[in-house]
């Protein structure tokens, strides 16, 4: 069962109460609305609402061009380190919908001396949290520095965005979830208004639409969203079925698909904003809103149970801001309901558990407890320094 399904049926989901106003939220946080980090070797913070623990996989860069993947048991904001294996540059992680496997986009540009990025498949022991690398699959030639990946809802394909090489690769997944050589290679062209950052195509983020087996990708370099569907005659071959232009020079960098799959939020890095799209079947996106942001979005995710979106914005200083947004599903718009300063400027990924948010940062894994009712951050936060250099997150259900 998929993590989110499990969580949905686990009793962890509580009713969605009235969201606090910014003032009440700041009051909850104490002065200045800043979240205080509490170092927590064992991540002990007040227990939350999660009935069953989750295994959180954390990709980390350990310096000198190497990295690691760690597992932590997280429950209600507690986190306990369990396992760890070396990896190269696990800049993004994704979990299989049915198997205890995670995939790491290894943001490298060399595989056996050739210009290729790679994807690692790692088996997670759901009981102990121990990790075992089961495959390292090279991407197509010149598909370097992969930055994002997503598993198709049927568990048969892995969509990878190669930021450096300007290409998408689809890797077929076998029965046990092991990836094979790319079954589709889609070389991209295009540019945006900002040179040199947007001098060429740079696929940066990918998601899968559950209902339609369709991939959506944000191309940071070419200011567009690409919609990819399997070829009806060859299901492992994907083609681009539509392209949606974003505002010139916006630099879409991260996508978050609402759990119902009907609404997509694209975070724009170069002209900081959130753009909201409705998915119009079979393969179109219609923009329903755009919200300028005061600073650069670094990470974005939906709350799995509710109409809440979290974004992390990076400041030039050593601070980041966590913004909490409420969706108006009918209008397809977002309204900011809370904001908090986070004492780290280098947050790279965010994962929303039912009772806490987990943020991957250079200093380690930051846990931000959530109010059960409003899903907004509480004062108490924790830092697990066991995973220094954290850059990516994915969850696997614990047995």
């Amino acid at each position: 069962m998929r993590l989110r399904d499990r969580l949905r049926t686990s009793g962890a989901v509580r009713g969605f109460g009235a969201p606090p106003t910014r003032r009440t939220f700041l009051a909850m946080l104490g002065s200045a609305g800043a979240v205080r980090l509490v170092p927590q070797p064992h991540g002990l913070v007040p227990s939350g609402a999660e009935a069953r623990p989750t295994l959180l996989c954390v990709g980390a860069l350990t310096g000198g061009g190497s990295g690691a993947i760690h597992t932590l048991a997280v429950q209600g904001g507690r986190c306990e380190p369990l396992g760890s294996i070396p990896s190269e540059q696990p800049l993004a992680l994704a979990s299989h919908p049915a198997r205890p496997i995670i995939y790491a986009a290894n943001s490298v540009n060399r595989y056996r001396h050739e210009p290729r990025g790679t994807v690692e498949a790692v088996l997670v022991d759901q009981r102990t949290g121990q990790l075992e690398r089961v495959a390292c699959q090279p991407l197509s030639l010149s598909a370097t520095y992969p930055r994002s990946l997503a598993v198709s809802p049927d568990g048969r394909s892995l969509l990878v965005a190669a930021f450096g090489g300007g290409a998408y690769n689809i890797l077929p997944l076998d029965e046990s979830g092991v990836p094979g050589a790319p079954s589709a290679i889609l070389k991209q062209v295009g540019r945006g208004a900002h040179f040199p950052d947007q001098g060429s195509a740079h696929p940066a983020s990918v998601v899968f639409v559950r209902q339609h087996l369709m991939g959506i990708a944000a191309d940071f370099g070419a200011d567009r969203l690409d919609l990819l569907s399997p070829d009806p005659n060859a299901p492992r071959k994907f083609t681009i079925v539509n392209r949606i232009a974003c505002r010139p020079g916006s630099g879409p960098c991260a996508l978050a698909l609402h759990r119902e799959g009907g609404l997509l939020v694209a975070a724009q890095r170069l002209r900081p904003a959130l753009t909201i799209f409705r998915l119009v079947p079979p393969a179109h996106l219609e923009q329903s809103g755009e919200i300028p942001l005061p600073s650069t979005p670094a990470a974005i995710t939906w709350c799995p149970q509710q109409e809440i979106l979290y974004t992390v914005l990076t400041e030039r200083s050593c601070l980041s801001h966590l913004h909490v947004w409420q969706l108006d599903p009918a209008a397809g718009t977002l309204r900011r309901i809370a904001e908090a300063a986070l004492p780290a400027a280098d947050i790279r990924a965010i994962h929303a558990g039912p009772a806490a948010l987990y943020l991957a940062s250079e200093r380690g894994l930051i846990t931000v407890n959530l109010d059960h009712t409003s899903r907004t951050p509480l004062l108490t936060t924790g830092l697990s320094a066991a995973v220094r250099g954290a850059v990516s997150l994915a969850a696997v259900t614990r047995a």
Binding site: E114, L141, G166, P182, I185, Q188, V189, G199, S200, A201
Partner: protein, 504 residues
Amino acid sequence: MTVAVNRGDPRFDTLKSGHNLRFPASDQEAADRILLCASADETADALRRVIAAGMRPTVRSGGHCYEGFVSSNPQGAIIDLSLYKTVTRDGETGSYCVAPGAVLGDVYLSLYKRWNLTLPAGSCFMVGAGGHISGGGYGLLSRLYGLTADWITGVDILTVDADGTVVARRVDKDQDPDLFRACRGAGGGNFGIITSFRFEKLPVAPREVVNASLFFPWKDMTEEQFTRILMKFGDYWEGRGKDPDTWGLFSLLEVTPKVTGHFGIHSQFCQPDGTVNDVSVFNEFLSRFDVFQPMTTLPATAPLGPHRLNLRTQGGSPRGIIKRPWLDATVGDGGGGGPTRAKYKSAYMKKTFTPAEASTIYKLYTSPANEGRGSVISIDSYGGAVNRPGLVRDTAVAQRSSIMKLQWQCYWRNADEDSEHLRAMDEIYTAVYTGSHVDAHHQGTPWGDRYEGCYMNYADCDMLRYSYWPELYYGRDGLYPFLQQVKRRYDPNNIFHSSMSVQE
């Protein structure tokens, strides 16, 4: 009309490979489609379609690429220009225009018969202009006339801009001079598809040449004697061979394993004026080897080596010298051989052989372990006009101080022998460039005081394991960073790429 050959087409299995049958390594690695184009417009159109489909285009002209840069293209498309092979003269500018699909033999015949001109290009009839000239292109007349790339004065090239638009450019020293320079020797498959090489002028074809071969029996060949032969050969190019009156002399020392019975030196000469009225330079060179009492012909029973040159020799005449019309010597025997499995390596040498180097080669080529491995070293004379000052700045060939160029070759037929031959070649080559004659940081590679790296037209993916591989191919004086800039500017999406293409 462009001919599209897709999987399932009866021609596909033949056309999916080039000359080196090692590639594609599997059916999965093969391209999905081959588009045969017979004009620049057809090529532009094919390229547009390939880009729009999100496929990777690889470009093929003569199909003689040493590595899988063209044929290994999973789900991609090969744009094949072998049907685009005209050799013409531009009515307006008077420039000679060579289309990429023209093979060298046809180029020689056309230039000679129409205008009594030639190119100092390679010795194999079937090598294509497209890849050969892009990578520099050298041959028997290069000491006399320089590299083929030195003569280019313009290039028609299709590039793909950031938006994916195919742009047809005519580049020269005034128009896109950076791209023009990059097209003069950096290697094909890097920046775009060249649809024409343009030459304002070309060298006059020699009228006649003399050829001679010297054969040294392996039987009774001592290490000391072998070393002396190699050093005598090398000393000549490091010394006397630098004098312009010798530039019409080309020579190749071909070392084959002991089991072949003999190794030999095969030479061609003409005076700088393209005649052979005075062959004293030739005699002077050949006489250096008299002391070893070489044979000038092989016994009828001797196995034939894989000589790349059409150097016919004659018993009876002094030192076996035979005079031939230049055209006959150049294209008379056709050649190049059919497709086979092969591996190649290269090394530029700035100085003669050291005793240690010669000793390593001796040991390797007399070792019973190497008998069946089919490896051959062709040690070509180099330098002369290639090393004229200034060319290094105007072209993309960095090696302008070498006096010899080595090509390591190995041929075999069966796929199941691949790994053994590849391993053996790598071992032999690495052994020769390991030791005190190579500087400490470049062990295993021809780099340092005595060497000038490798030749991009003899591409060798083994060299990728050295982080400094671009230095080996492009030198240390800023050429590679320059090529990277050109790459970023004219191929910002890295449409044209291979494992050894210029990398961002």
